[in-house]
């Protein structure tokens, strides 16, 4: 299997993150590495920087990783997590400005075709364009 961009799903709710990952896997099977996380460090609703870092490393691919988030705190924590990665990985991870479910499915479908990280991000973000 040639490398494809990895997908990370970050929601405030673990159930939403898992459900979104299930939908992505149904679309693209195991061609694309998908990781997800949700919940604050105590397991309540929220997001957790260490969990996001772990998810990025789980979904890691030489082609990079695209992150899909739900609400504000998930975005801020994901941006922070990216900055805390080892320097060699930091520049190959992007947070997409896209709705989490549709964005994850679109991004993964694009990734499955062997597209670059920039292409995957652009396709996910078309959903946010007017």
């Amino acid at each position: 299997m040639s490398e494809t961009v990895g997908i990370v799903i970050v929601s405030h709710s673990l159930d939403i993150a898992k459900g979104t990952a299930d939908m992505v896997r149904q679309m693209v099977g195991s061609e694309v590495r998908v990781a997800f996380c949700g919940g604050n460090p105590d397991g309540g609703l929220g997001t957790s920087v260490p969990s996001i870092i772990d998810a990025i490393n789980d979904a890691w691919s030489a082609k990079g990783v695209a992150i899909l988030v739900d609400l504000g705190g998930a975005e801020t924590n994901s941006e922070m997590a990216v900055e805390m990665l080892e320097p060699a990985r930091r520049d190959h991870v992007v947070v997409c400005n896209a709705p989490i479910v549709e964005g994850a499915v679109m991004a993964a479908t694009e990734a499955a075709g062997g597209s670059t990280l920039a292409q995957v991000k652009a396709v996910a973000e078309e959903l946010s364009a007017d």
Binding site: G72, T76, N77, E79
Partner: protein, 207 residues
């Protein structure tokens, strides 16, 4: 332990304890215009800082501030984690680069405030913690070296937090409420005020 390290340790302890004590208030403010987790998130972060206080205060000041920042980033669990985390990481970073306390306090605080602004892609006037931090920075600049500096910083923070009530939120979850955010004090501004007041009280007590 040096005098400076001892002062720093008690200052961090007082500040963290004050935030923990104000968690119910922060939560109720956040329930009005946010998602209601600011109190519990800040409490979790401050408890983590207290848990590491011995190793934090054993570090040189710049490293100690960075450890506080990193601890908050890793444990808070909401946007306030990266926001407050970036504040302390940037303050520590400034001290690692030829800035010294107390003479460069306004510069160091300014770097920290800029980091919050960049992380949140926000500026003063948007009903956030910056609406306390930016006025406090101004007072630190204008009243630098004055004998009543602490008192003025305290008064600035108190007035600034009240001024967030009539503001319209355009950042964070409160922005979803639009005009309904008006009339409520911002929880992030309130937690910043609690921190600033606690530091002032601790410094006054130590004089």
């Amino acid at each position: 332990m040096s005098m400076q390290a001892e002062t720093f340790k008690s200052l961090v302890k007082v500040a963290a304890e004050q935030v923990i004590a104000s968690a119910p208030e922060l939560t109720s403010l956040d329930q009005a215009i946010g998602d209601g987790d600011h109190g519990t998130n800040m409490k979790r972060g401050c408890e983590a800082v207290l848990g590491k206080l011995d190793s934090i205060s054993a570090q040189p000041l710049d490293e100690a501030l960075k450890m506080i920042g990193k601890t908050l980033v890793m444990t808070v669990g909401g946007a306030s984690g990266p926001l407050y985390g970036s504040f302390f990481l940037a303050a520590g970073e400034a001290l690692s680069h030829d800035k010294h306390l107390p003479e460069d306090l306004a510069d160091v605080f300014g770097s920290a405030v800029n980091a919050v602004s960049a992380r949140g892609r926000s500026h003063a006037g948007e009903k956030t913690m910056l609406d306390v931090l930016v006025p406090v920075l101004e007072t630190l600049k204008t009243a630098a070296g004055q004998p009543d500096l602490i008192e003025r910083v305290r008064a600035t923070a108190k007035e600034a937090v009240e001024r967030t009530a009539p503001m319209l939120a355009t950042k964070g979850r409160a922005s979803f409420l639009g005009a309904r955010s008006v009339g409520h004090v911002d929880p992030g501004a309130r937690s910043s005020c609690v921190l600033v007041q606690a530091v002032c009280a601790s410094l006054e007590g130590g004089q």
